[in-house]
């Protein structure tokens, strides 16, 4: 399977402030009653974007000036909580192609990488700098350069970090592991044969 080499993502950004934004907030569980991922995009952050009565709350991603943004910025421990891939799926289907945060919860990070969504870490002050630039000019183009590990915006840039295995997978077009895993099938059978419990049903 030939996958795209994701070396950088460019587009407009939107800052969703806060730490510990959990997967229930990213996609509330009631929207997971589905057998396909299609349509999850509109439910991204649903309960924060709407009052209990369903009226819009003016959430950053709904502000007209941020329409079409493709890069999401947030705080620390983004994506904590459940293992639901519905969370990065909703982010992707809502049009986002990269997430910049101070750091990420483990399972969310892996799920996002597998979908080809770079999740990159930046210092809080640097995220604030980018957020300020977006606030000043919502149309400003950001470039999340996964290969060079920096985010460029206007004349400025900030440093970012990313776990090397994820960075390697993204820039070399092997972020979805299924092809590599299938290539290893003979070795899988050999490893399984050494483990007695694997033969038992």
């Amino acid at each position: 399977m030939a996958l795209a080499k994701i070396t950088s993502v460019s587009g407009r950004g939107v800052f969703v402030p806060g730490n510990d934004i959990d997967t229930d907030r990213i996609i509330p569980a009631r929207f997971m009653k589905c057998v396909v991922f299609d349509g999850l995009g509109e439910f991204l952050f649903y309960d924060v974007r709407h009052t209990p009565e369903g009226a819009p709350t003016g959430h950053p991603i709904d502000r007209p000036e941020h329409k079409g943004a493709t890069i999401l910025l947030s705080g620390a421990n983004f994506g904590c909580g459940s293992s639901r891939e519905h969370a990065p799926q909703a982010i992707h289907k809502a049009g986002f192609r990269a997430v910049i945060a101070e750091n990420f919860a483990e399972i969310f990070f892996g799920n996002s990488t597998t979908l080809g969504i770079p999740c990159v870490n930046a210092a809080r002050e640097d995220i604030a700098k980018v957020a300020a630039a977006i606030e000043a000019n919502p149309a400003i183009e950001l470039t999340v350069d996964v290969a060079a590990l920096e985010v460029r915006f206007g004349a400025e840039k900030i440093k970012i970090t990313q776990r090397e295995s994820a960075r390697d997978a993204l820039v070399n077009g092997r972020w979805d592991a299924i092809g590599d895993l299938i290539d290893g099938l003979p070795a899988v059978q050999a490893t399984a044969a050494k483990l007695p419990y694997m033969s038992a049903a």
């Binding site: 806060g18 730490n19 510990d20 959990d22 229930d24 907030r25 509330p28 569980a29 009631r30 997971m32 009653k33 589905c34 057998v35 396909v36 991922f37 309960d47 209990p52 620390a76 421990n77 904590c80 909580g81 459940s82 293992s83 639901r84 891939e85 519905h86 990065p88 799926q89 750091n103 919860a105 483990e106 399972i107 892996g110 799920n111 597998t114 090397e164 295995s165 994820a166 390697d168 997978a169 070399n172 092997r174 592991a177 299924i178 590599d180 895993l181 299938i182 290893g184 099938l185 070795a187 899988v188 490893t191 399984a192 050494k194 483990l195 007695p196 419990y197 694997m198 038992a200 049903a201």
Partner: protein, 473 residues
Amino acid sequence: MSAQPKSLFEKVWEAHSVRKLANGQTQLLIGTHLIHEVTSPQAFGMLRDLGLKVLMPHRTFATVDHIVPTNELVEPYKDSLAQAMMDELRKNCAQFGVTFFDRSTGKQGIVHIVGPEQGITQPGTTIACGDSHTSTHGAFGAIAFGIGTSQVRDVLATQTMALGALKVRRIEVNGKLRAGVYAKDVILHIIRLLGVNGGTGYAYEYAGTTFDGFSMEERMTVCNMSIEGGARVGYVNPDETTFAYLKGRPYSPTGDAWDAAVARWKSFASDPGCRYDDVVRIDAADIAPSVTWGINPGQGISITENIPSPETATSDDDRAGIIEALAYMKLPAGQPIKGTKINVAFLGSCTNGRLSDFQEVARYIRGRKVAPGVRAIAVPGSQIVALQCEKLGLDKILAEAGFEWRAAGCSMCLAMNPDKLIGDELCASSSNRNFKGRQGSVTGRTVLMSPVMVAAAAVTGVVSDAREVFAVN
């Protein structure tokens, strides 16, 4: 013993390593794959799109838990989406030859309760499931990962997934827990101490005399909430307690194979003197009955403490977190949490929906009544737990006290079924997450605590110290 002392994590990792992948990750063999209705249908869909089969259907086990109504046994369910997910799982299991513990088998339940009670969960194995509370299975000395749907696809198709090794933090709890303090309080204490993201990148090895003395069910309660502390994996080294629990279970080895298995299981336990990336020591006597006051499981206090106030915050983040949490929870800063009015009491979930949880509650609640105006439900974690409770008459004791005795499922832990909070109801809950909206109402409020503390809150109508309510000493 090998020359170089190793931790259980390292040994299990090595035994299941298939090969190194180009990006530096490991192709890791997953011995046991547990699936359920919420995170598997899309994975089966991807499998069909790619024209792939389930590589090892005999190592794949399914049950249904998140969406099943706990007060409705006859299909079709009123919720057509729930019925569609049920039908989809049934179809996928039939088509790909996967064993399905459907409701008709009498073995259905929450996936993290079914695996252990069937003897599928075994020491020295790797387990994956599309659910973050898969860490529960680590109680047996397994390395158990919560995974996303694409990884469910990977494991279905190849019985492996791509993963980087974790660091290991040993968390030793030593000594005897004080009266009225439970395994739930131990894990809430650990999360409060180390933070909700303190475990990112780590596997937690729980050890020490407190864990040595714990039953398997208590160990499961602690391992279950590892992910709430950011640790994807949590485990306890296997010992005689583990083997005694597994003996005679449907999927446990028998005869000579049993002896061989026990010898093998023992060999996976961490070697004395092995290297840990971090060690944390906790005195059991420092742990009190705990409750959460905020919107993540790390925002907890002992029942005798006051609700934090922004003025006492230790950092700007902490202050912002307190302000946000108190606004959502509608709780007064600096006041005792004890006495906070509750509307709902929920007993159950993969954290605390096992026999010993209901036994302990029944022991104290016998002859007491749920306070007027409190909606109380007790939901066994599996059909087998339900049967065990019913044989002991625990269902009757709970029902006489005013708890509704339900059928097995995830119920009000995550509200993907009809069991939900309404409006800003406050729920005393034995579950694992107090996130905003977690229990099904966008303004619903969750206070996490041990099952006995839930019982105390239920009978008094307010968050209470179970030691006072039930004269525990």
